[in-house]
């Protein structure tokens, strides 16, 4: 998969935090070829790049209620296979299997982490910004987790809606 268009310069946007209502609103379906979506894609990547430890960022996290997100788990120690940096529009889960529980955090919920069960084998379908080409991604392990977390953001869900039990929420101890 190609890197997002280099003709558009991404801007670094402020990341909103819960309880901002934009995080709990399902994002709008977008036209991936629209110039503002191409710009948004570049902005998400630029903002992810300057955020230490950030492996993904969704449009609602920069205050835009839209189904667009970027992911890049390539630098993360938990990563096995990955697809580098990419942006998906209107992504949806095609198939998901092999649930695994792990602790995850979120830039929009900076003080807490939670134990969340996610599929470790995942097929996702979405569209590339710019061309609008349909892409299908087969992801596993940590990249699969990141994708599900970002797709949740685009549906107005946080990991707080997914934790496995009443004692599955924790004060953040390490800053990655």
């Amino acid at each position: 998969m190609s890197e997002p268009s280099s003709e558009v310069v991404g801007r670094i946007l402020p990341v909103v935090r819960a309880p901002d209502p934009v995080l709990s609103r399902p994002g709008a379906t977008v036209d991936p070829t629209a110039p503002e979506i191409v710009q948004l894609a570049a902005d998400l990547v630029a903002t992810m790049r300057v955020s230490p430890g950030c492996v993904g960022l969704a449009a609602p996290q920069v205050g835009v209620s839209a189904k667009v997100f970027c992911v890049d788990v390539s630098e993360h120690p938990k990563t096995r296979g990955h697809h580098g940096t990419f942006v998906l529009c209107n992504a949806e889960v095609v198939s998901a299997s092999r649930n695994e529980k792990a602790r995850e955090g979120c830039m929009s919920v900076p003080d807490l982490t939670g134990d969340v069960k996610r599929a470790s084998r995942l097929v996702v379908r979405g569209q590339e910004p710019g061309t609008g080409a349909e892409v299908v991604i087969e992801a596993e392990a940590f990249e699969a987790r990141a994708l599900q977390h970002e797709i949740d953001h685009c549906d107005g869900l946080l990991f707080l809606d997914r934790v496995v039990g009443a004692h599955a929420l924790h004060a953040r101890k390490t800053y990655l």
């Binding site: 935090r17 900076p110 039990g165 929420l169």
Partner: protein, 171 residues
């Protein structure tokens, strides 16, 4: 066999659990169930012990913990309880901006349908308030009706709410 409910609360420092459980072991008490966490930085532990020592003896033996006034300890005898699973388990999740009355308003809806809360955590992180509760719903309760009632009060409070069946994978 005497069952004792022991609570230890106060200023956190390393060694509280070691000292507490050391005393209990010396008294021949068995720790049946226990839980410990930090609540806004305060040490909070509760235990149920089984053994032959009585409450007064145990409280006196734990006296060193309370000597400098930074911790309070209480010990009282409790009857044996039957642990019975009642109905189906759900996880209630609520999050949103902090404001008074979130817990009481939301939990009142659970109580109305006879739901029993078996585990509860709330966290305040900056502006964000989070409540997680594991709820046993009696067979007569309608989870969909409860979820819509919860949605209504959540709307009034400006918070998000969800109610999901708690799954457990047997491996």
């Amino acid at each position: 066999m005497t069952f004792l409910a022991i609570t230890v609360l106060g200023h956190d420092r390393p060694g509280i659990i070691a000292e507490t459980t050391g005393v209990l072991a010396q008294l021949g008490l068995n720790i049946e169930d226990s839980t410990m966490t930090l609540l806004r930085g305060h040490f909070a532990m509760m235990l149920i012990t089984g053994g032959s020592a009585d409450a007064t003896t145990v409280e006196e033996s734990l006296g060193a913990l309370t000597a400098d006034g930074s911790l309070s300890v209480s010990v009282r005898e409790v009857p044996a309880e039957q642990v019975v699973a009642r109905g189906t388990a759900y996880l209630l999740s609520v999050h949103g901006g902090d404001r008074p009355g979130i817990v009481s308003t939301v939990i009142a809806e659970v109580a109305k349908v006879g739901g029993n809360i078996t585990d509860l955590t709330t966290r305040l992180a900056g502006e964000l308030y989070v409540l997680l509760a594991e709820v046993d719903l009696p067979p007569a309760a309608d989870p969909a009706a409860l979820e819509s009632a919860l949605g209504e009060v959540a709307g009034g409070l400006g918070v998000e709410v969800s109610l999901r069946a708690l799954e457990s994978d047997d491996l």
